[in-house]
């Protein structure tokens, strides 16, 4: 690995490569990621598909799951800290470690970013390769081109908590609306109607009640189809929403073009 990844110092013996397995697993894992998985001395993984797990264990027999760190009622912040500690300890022991997360390994994954920052500070080579995220699947499945009207994306809890400013004439994506305000892991989790109501109230300040929104779930297996549910904004609090859902809010009427800028472009 290059010295750039370690701030100019010669890298220490252990190293870290973080990769993504996409949403459907094998087919959405890049060739670079597959090579990294195969070549690693040690592989940690956190995937949701049993077939992806089987595939990873076949690619690298030295594979260990990180999913055992999720426990019912355990704070997710603690789970992420434990993941970081496990990864960092393996690298410090001098191993070439690969970590594979489902989706894009840098999207809504805290432990990978933290492990990379920590290891680089200590002089280890550590970097991330991009993967296929749920957002990438959404572009393909909804026929959405972010270049048309622009696109803004927020994690749903952060959107509410930080009162994020956004432009309703551009598309809006809210990640994880099914896990709105959830701080602990628990099975069978779905969005709470009162929290969805609060989110809807925040959106209603910018969109009409009959504005059509989309609840989107990317397909997680090659024979599955993506789930695309259309509803009005007013009906959103009554929907049952799973944590993997993304909310896409299409833009309202477009802004008029700026004539001065238009002339300037001419």
């Amino acid at each position: 690995m290059s010295r750039a990844a370690t701030g100019g110092r010669p890298p220490k013996r252990g190293s870290l490569l973080v990769v993504g397995t996409g949403i459907t697993g094998a087919g959405q894992t890049t060739l670079d990621a597959v090579t990294a998985i195969q070549d690693a001395d040690y592989l940690f993984y956190c995937v949701v598909e049993p077939t992806t797990e089987l595939w990873l264990r076949g690619l690298n027999p030295a594979a260990t799951t990180l999913s055992d760190l999720y426990e019912e009622g355990k704070a997710r912040t603690k789970t992420y800290a434990d993941m970081t500690a496990r990864i960092v300890t393996a690298v410090r022991s001098g191993l070439r470690v690969c970590v594979a997360f489902y989706g894009h390994p840098g999207v809504l994954v805290e432990s990978t970013h933290k492990a990379i920052r920590l290891l680089r500070r200590e002089g280890y080579a550590a970097r991330m390769l991009p993967g296929v995220s749920a957002e990438g699947c959404l572009f393909a499945d909804l026929g959405l081109n972010p270049g048309d009207d622009g696109l803004q994306g927020f994690e749903a809890t952060d959107f509410l908590l930080s009162r994020r400013k956004f432009d309703p004439t551009s598309g809006l994506i809210l990640w994880q609306i099914g896990a709105l305000g959830e701080t602990v892991s628990r099975p069978g989790i779905t969005s709470r109607p009162d929290r969805l109501e609060t989110l809807t109230r925040a959106l209603r300040r910018h969109y009409p009640p009959r504005h059509r929104v989309v609840l989107y779930y990317a397909a997680t297996f090659p024979t599955d189809r993506p789930v695309v549910q259309h509803c009005t904004l007013a009906a959103l609090p009554r929907a049952t929403v799973l944590p993997m859902a993304m909310l896409y809010v299409p833009p309202i009427a477009q802004r008029p073009l700026d004539p001065r800028i238009l002339r300037w472009f001419d």
Binding site: R57, G58, T183, V227
Partner: protein
């Protein structure tokens, strides 16, 4: 040094990609799962075939539910905000303590 990947893993990867990209192959698989898997050029282990069949029997929403446990991200922000609020509450307590000691000082001065 890393061990060589198993032939089964490579065959499984190829099979899953074929399912995702070849519509005719996927349709044939949906009609006769076992038959298609048995007819593959690269054979899959019996354990792998069973896993694929089990996975494919799940409905779309059931398959989404299996990933519920891992969904996260929201927590960090909420937890951090709660920590911040707790921290912000502390200096107020200290201020009260300082106020009390200042009052004591004034009382001492008055006594002198």
């Amino acid at each position: 040094m890393a061990k060589k990947p198993s032939g089964d893993a490579l065959a499984l990867g190829h099979f899953l990609s074929k399912l995702a990209t070849d519509d005719a192959f996927r349709e044939a698989f949906n009609k006769d799962k076992r038959g298609i898997m048995n007819a593959l050029e690269e054979p899959l282990l019996e354990e792998t075939k069973a896993a694929i069949e089990a996975r494919d029997q799940l409905g779309v929403f059931d398959s989404l539910k299996i990933s519920n446990q891992n969904a996260g991200g929201a927590s960090t922000k909420v937890a951090a905000a709660k920590r911040k609020a707790k921290k912000a509450a502390k200096p107020a307590g200290k201020k009260t303590a300082r106020k009390a000691s200042a009052t004591k000082k004034t009382a001492r001065k008055t006594r002198r």
